[in-house]
Symmetry: C2
Subunit: 185 residues, 2 copies
Amino acid sequence: MKDHLHEETLHKERIYQGRIIELENHTVRLPDGKESKREVVRHPGAVGIICFRNDKLILVYQYRKALGKVIAEIPAGKLDEGESPEVCAVRELEEETGIKAGSCRFLCSFYTSPGFADELVHIYIAEDLKAGHKAADDDEFVEMAEVSLEEASAFIEDGTIHDAKTLYAVQYLQLQKERSSSRPK
Amino acid sequence: MKDHLHEETLHKERIYQGRIIELENHTVRLPDGKESKREVVRHPGAVGIICFRNDKLILVYQYRKALGKVIAEIPAGKLDEGESPEVCAVRELEEETGIKAGSCRFLCSFYTSPGFADELVHIYIAEDLKAGHKAADDDEFVEMAEVSLEEASAFIEDGTIHDAKTLYAVQYLQLQKERSSSRPK
């Protein structure tokens, strides 16, 4: 699509290969023939899972080193190698909250930062909920919360909810609510 | 907030300082006393601006090197040093589309990838629209499109719209539409 906007890779240099991300520096040929540089972060991809139970959205508080603060997010995590997003979504929900989803439904996927990173987040909604077994990763410390949509809006106002996937989740649930309330009875 | 979840920085190493991003590797003390590593990408922050005119959302097609494809996004760009997000939003809209916003209103901000990056995106809605002067950056090639909300939904389905801020914009407009149609006449 829109081939005339493409940038041709002239040279690619790996700057860093880490635990989770890799950093590359690309030299590209622009559509007008000139050269430029593009910094690219490679990421394995992630999932977020919307779990809505008894009119409450399930969130987890987690300290985020990049932000230097704790925020409340929908349960989420990065894909293990070879893992399907659906399996990852169910696994992360159970590990972080102890809630087991009998099934989950795909809603959408989005790139978080297309300007410099290839991280793709897949969003699912949890269904057929039952009790499971909480078991966070060794270096992951999370605390669960359950909030109404009104409380979630207040969390957005005060910065407790402050990330893309959780804002998506709140908007998604608000839309579902508006649409169900405007349907003819 | 939730101080017991905090991670103390024991050591910080700068891996890379680039044109747009910086990469750091942090050694941290976890809440249980153990040590771990955190990769952190520093980013100057960005804005996205929702411009809705004659029932159409303004998008720009742009090749994204990190994704290796062209996607359609709301006009956006990174903050220049010392620039206010509001000024940046109006500037990026005009540069990328030739539309001048007499004013703009703040809607929300969100971290795109709290797991590894501090990029914060500020979302504005453009108001008091008039003709301006298109003038993209030297290394930026963009093409404007105007789509209805129905066309935007189809773009989400087929992956033409595929990033967090543009999904936020579409859901925001869908919510406004639902709420205005359900208001008592």
